[in-house]
């Protein structure tokens, strides 16, 4: 299984959001780091075909995702950054509805809905309207819907934003478990989330991919003289070293 982005460019008017991005994903967790406007969300939107690319190609197992259309989307789980939900629906009905749109039905749908609600710790509020949820709870609802249908490619845009530490660890561990036979793309500002679970980290800046390597390799790439105080360097230092202005 391989998701390949080849020389992809995207412009919004005069602003270049992505410039000749080339990267290949195989099963594993990919943490995407970058400041606002680095092109993280644009890359995710291109993979989900929510924006039109201006050049290049995105292929899944060698076939362009635009040609695959529904077949590719059937393999996709997407959790957008924006907390868009049907506020009038209950958590259960929202997840069930998305399950239907993913092509699930009957017992499979019921079982999967129960599983993802359990997993995201929403079972006790399943009959409450999503509109009355806190930001963190909405985040979990969105994560729940992304997990439905056993997706082979999971795109998570800020999945742990707004969650309490306990929930974050829970979700993080779950994502780690999921990634055995899946491609998981995880964009976040919370660097520690990536550090412990990501197989590789993509550092993006102004629409370009600066580096892509395992966290340990990135940390090792920072010169020891970079920090005047001696301490064990971590991924936050990588972020500041490569992406800090």
């Amino acid at each position: 299984m391989e998701l390949a982005i080849q020389n992809v460019t995207k412009r919004y008017g005069k602003i270049t959001a992505l410039s000749g991005l080339t990267v290949t994903f195989t099963p594993g967790i990919y943490g995407i780091l970058g400041a606002n406007g680095a092109g993280k969300s644009t890359m995710m939107n291109l993979i989900t075909d929510n924006v039109k690319r201006d050049g290049g190609s995105i292929t899944f197992d060698g076939v362009d995702i635009l040609k695959l259309g529904d077949k590719f989307r059937a393999q996709l789980g997407y959790m957008p950054q924006q907390q868009g939900v049907y506020e009038h629906m209950t958590a259960e009905s929202f997840v069930t509805y998305i399950g239907r749109l993913k092509g699930l039905r009957g017992r499979d749908l019921k079982r999967e809905v129960n599983e993802v609600l359990e997993l995201t710790n929403l079972s006790n509020v399943r009959h409450k309207k999503v509109g009355g949820f806190s930001g963190g709870m909405k985040q979990r609802v969105l994560l729940a819907q992304a997990l439905l249908g056993d997706p082979k490619v999971l795109i998570l845009d800020e999945p742990t934003a707004g969650l309490d530490p306990k929930e974050r660890v829970r979700i993080r561990n779950f994502i780690k478990e999921l990634a055995r036979d899946r491609i998981v793309l995880l964009a976040t500002h919370i660097v520690s989330d990536i550090e412990s679970i990501a197989d590789e980290v993509l550092l993006m800046k102004k629409g370009e991919l600066l580096r892509m390597a395992p966290p340990a390799e990135l940390i090792a790439s920072i010169p020891e003289t970079w920090t005047p105080v001696a301490y064990r360097l971590n991924l936050e230092d990588v972020y500041l070293y490569y992406l800090g202005e």
Partner: protein, 776 residues
């Protein structure tokens, strides 16, 4: 000052207030029109001017002299209209010269000289209605003293019966009280004058409901911080408790007073400006027939002032009550549901509880008594309060200050004492239980089922459709003909007998009929004419290649689908357009407003799958509107239509013989008309979907669609003719185009349908494309 500014100067609330006032004025004037379409406004204005002039001519005259004047005016108008329409002395009830002389001297008739003939005739018909109204008013004036006498006599008579005889009973006390109160009205001077402006204003119900809407709009402004999650923050500030409560009470008072002045004052001034009557406000209020039962010594002008004050006070009290109730809820999300349940309950008691019920105090001491305040003045009724009769007006108005003070204290104390957190909401528990039950059902919904559910429940499609169903019940479809039936009655009778295919049976019938005439010249001549007509029919049918058929007159079709009812067809089409907007505008905008579009688009069936279901749901709603508007029309048509004609080819109607497909039966013709109408409504729905799909919020989708499509449609239907190029009214109506095609063979009037079809198909294609492809 901050709270005043936040509440009163919020742009959306200001816009909504302006819209409410505009709607009130617009519907008030629409209610005054007897006719819609081209020249409707001129017809209304001229009719009102005629009324004003006629009333002026009656000033200083005795009722008998006024009676004579009105009778003469009615006769002259009748004869003049007859002359104008049919130019036949036989139909006149006075010498032609006299009628012509009257017309030449009449200021009203001469003022119409520059107008189109059809419009002039319409205005003359309106003038006839106005004269009739004045004659009825005169009868009322003459009979008022007699009415007072009859109440006294009835009281004296009834008090002798066993039912009313017991002096300790409510019935007896009520009888005596009624007689005593009306006795005080003896000697009240009821005078003939201009009543139309004030009566029309007092009876305009919609203003009451719009006033309630305005009050609700501002009450909801007081609950905004709860929905925004700012209640705790506001309550934590130094002025966020009782001081804020008092400020809001003051704001509500201003809104109630200002709203009453705006909604009622503007309509009253406009009504007086239109119909006249400024100088007649000093008469006793009983001079207006609607106030026949009012037992209060007061002039019309004083009543207006009192009424406006009562309205403002009632609005304030109702606002306080709603604020108290909604403010007492722990969870703001239930505000709208609780409000709807409460208003529905109160209205049910107000409207449906029988007057005789022992619970009738709750019918009159009711929220809607303070909303439909004019009823307190136009209905005389004493209710049983512990065996004593109490007038409904006295009860409601007496309780007004007490309730106001009570609710005011409740509101301020709630603002001061109520804590935002830490309460278990009973409604939340109920809602959770309800949602649990609903989830059992919703689990089984398919994608299509979900789309219908979202549209009807989340996007409020169901209540909107119910309102549409009620509103469409007020639409009119038939313009009955004023023309007298012409032609030989024997010929008409024979043709009626022979209605059906013009086959051998007709020939046999005619032979038999001839044999039965016994040489009667009238009958023979009639049969000759029938034979001639049948022969013409057969020749035409032979040439057109269809079956000859003896059909009835074209009048029923003309009255519903033809030029006679053109104004109604346009108005109904305009309403259908507005209904489509109300139902279909949220369909695409809802997803954008919810922010779920990127997520949906990443799903297997989230693009074409969702779009197709949205399309089907839209077509389903279109079908419901089609049935609500045009199903009723067909039902009305069936009432006046001869079912025997349904299989007759259209070409047999001489008026419709230019139809390019003369062999098409009447049934097929009607099916085509209604199918085209559905198609046009569906195309319009596609355009509405296209616009709403580009709007980020449902609110904006409504506003843009109403501004672009709804408002021009209504204005055109009401008579602003140049808008015909900017609105799809004629396309949706279809009847005008098909009728013209059938009568002249010209497709010209069907061009709007073709344009709408193209627009609809283009919108559909663009919507489909957008659903499958990213836009950026």
């Amino acid at each position: 000052m901050g709270e005043w500014k936040r509440v009163l100067l919020n742009p959306r609330r200001l816009a909504a207030t302006a819209l409410i006032v505009v709607l009130s004025v617009a519907f008030f004037f629409v209610g005054r029109m007897e006719y819609f379409g081209r020249g409707a406004i001129t017809r209304m204005v001229e009719g009102e001017r005629y009324y004003d002039r006629l009333v002026s001519r009656t000033r200083g005259h005795s009722p008998e002299e006024i009676d004579e004047l009105l009778t003469a005016e009615a006769d002259y108008l009748e004869n003049y209209i007859t002359l104008l329409l049919w130019d036949n002395d036989e139909y006149l009830s006075m010498p032609r010269a006299e009628v012509e002389q009257w017309a030449a001297e009449s200021e009203f008739v001469t003022s119409l000289a520059g107008l189109e003939e059809s419009l002039r005739e319409d205005i003359l018909f309106t003038a006839q209605y106005r004269v009739e109204e004045l004659r009825e008013e005169l009868q009322y004036i003459k009979g008022y003293e007699g009415y007072i006498d009859s109440i006294q006599k009835q009281a004296a008579l009834q008090s002798q019966t066993a039912l009313f005889g017991d002096k300790n009973s409510f019935a007896n006390r009520n009888l005596l009280r009624t007689a005593a109160e009306f006795e005080t009205m003896r000697g009240v001077k009821v005078e003939f004058g201009s009543n139309r402006a004030v009566e029309g204003w007092a009876e305009f119900e919609l203003a009451d409901y719009l006033y309630l809407l305005l009050i609700i709009l501002f009450v909801f402004a007081f609950l905004e911080e709860r929905k925004a999650g700012l209640w705790g923050v506001i309550r934590g500030t130094s002025g966020g408790r009782w001081r804020l409560g008092l400020t809001r009470v003051a704001i509500l008072l201003c809104v109630s007073a200002g709203g009453a002045a705006l909604l009622y004052g503007v309509n009253l001034l406009a009504s007086l400006a239109l119909s006249g009557g400024w100088g007649d406000l000093g008469r006793s209020v009983q001079s207006l027939a609607v106030f026949r039962t009012l037992t209060q010594h007061i002039t019309i002008g004083e009543w207006i002032a009192q009424y406006l004050l009562v309205k403002a006070a009632s609005g304030f009290m109702v606002g306080l009550l709603l604020w108290c109730l909604l403010g007492s809820l722990s969870s703001a999300q239930f505000s709208l549901s609780v409000l709807c349940v409460m208003l529905a309950g109160e209205y049910a008691l107000f409207a449906f509880l029988p007057v005789q019920s022992i619970f009738n105090p709750v019918k009159y001491f009711n929220l809607f008594s303070y909303i439909r305040t004019s009823k307190l003045y136009t209905e005389y009724l004493n209710i049983d309060l512990f065996g004593y009769p109490v007038g409904i007006r006295r009860l409601a108005l007496g309780a007004l200050p007490v309730s106001t003070v009570g609710f005011l204290l409740w509101a301020v104390l709630t603002a001061h004492l109520r804590r935002p957190e830490g309460r278990r909401s009973f409604l939340q528990v109920l809602a959770d239980g309800w949602n649990k039950c609903l989830d059992v059902f919703r689990r089984r919904l398919t994608v299509g089922g979900w789309e219908v559910y979202k549209t009807f429940i989340f996007q409020k499609g169901l209540p909107v459709l119910l309102i549409i169903l009620l509103a469409s019940g007020t639409l009119n479809y038939i313009r009955f003909s004023n023309e007298p039936e012409t032609g030989d009655p024997w010929v008409m009778a024979y043709l009626e007998e022979l209605r059906g295919p013009a086959d051998d049976y007709v020939d046999d019938y005619l032979v038999a009929a001839r044999a039965m005439t016994e040489g009667d010249a009238t009958l023979l001549s009639a049969l000759d004419e029938v034979e001639e007509q049948v022969e013409t029919l057969r020749e035409r049918a032979r040439a057109g290649g269809y079956e000859p058929w003896i059909v009835g007159p074209v009048t029923p079709y003309d009255c519903v689908y033809g030029p006679k009812s053109l104004d109604l067809q346009r108005l109904n089409a305009a309403f259908a357009i507005v209904f489509i907007i109300l139902c279909c505008a949220p369909v695409c905008a809802f997803e954008r407003q919810s922010g779920v579009v990127p997520m949906l688009r990443s799903l297997k069936r989230g693009r074409g799958g969702v779009f197709v279901r949205k399309l089907l749901t839209t077509l389903l709603m279109t079908a419901m509107i089609w049935v609500a508007v045009y199903g009723r029309e067909f039902r009305e048509f069936v009432r006046i239509f001869h079912p025997g004609d349904i299989a007759a080819p259209v070409g047999n109607f001489s008026e419709l013989s230019a139809f390019p497909f003369p062999g098409m039966t009447v049934g097929q013709f009607l099916a085509l008309l209604y199918a085209l109408r559905y198609l046009m409504l569906a195309m319009l729905a596609m355009a509405v979907m296209f616009i709403s799909g580009r709007c980020p919020t449902v609110e904006l989708a409504y506003m843009i669609n109403l501004a672009l499509l709804g408002l021009p449609a209504i204005l055109y239907a009401l008579g602003i003719d140049f808008l015909r190029f900017l609105t799809p009214v004629n396309a949706v109506s279809v009847a005008d185009g098909l009728w013209t095609l059938a009568t002249t063979g010209s497709f010209k009037q069907l061009i709007p349908c073709a344009i709408l079809l193209l627009i609809g198909l283009a919108a559909l294609a663009l919507n489909a494309r957008r659903s499958n492809h990213p836009t950026h």
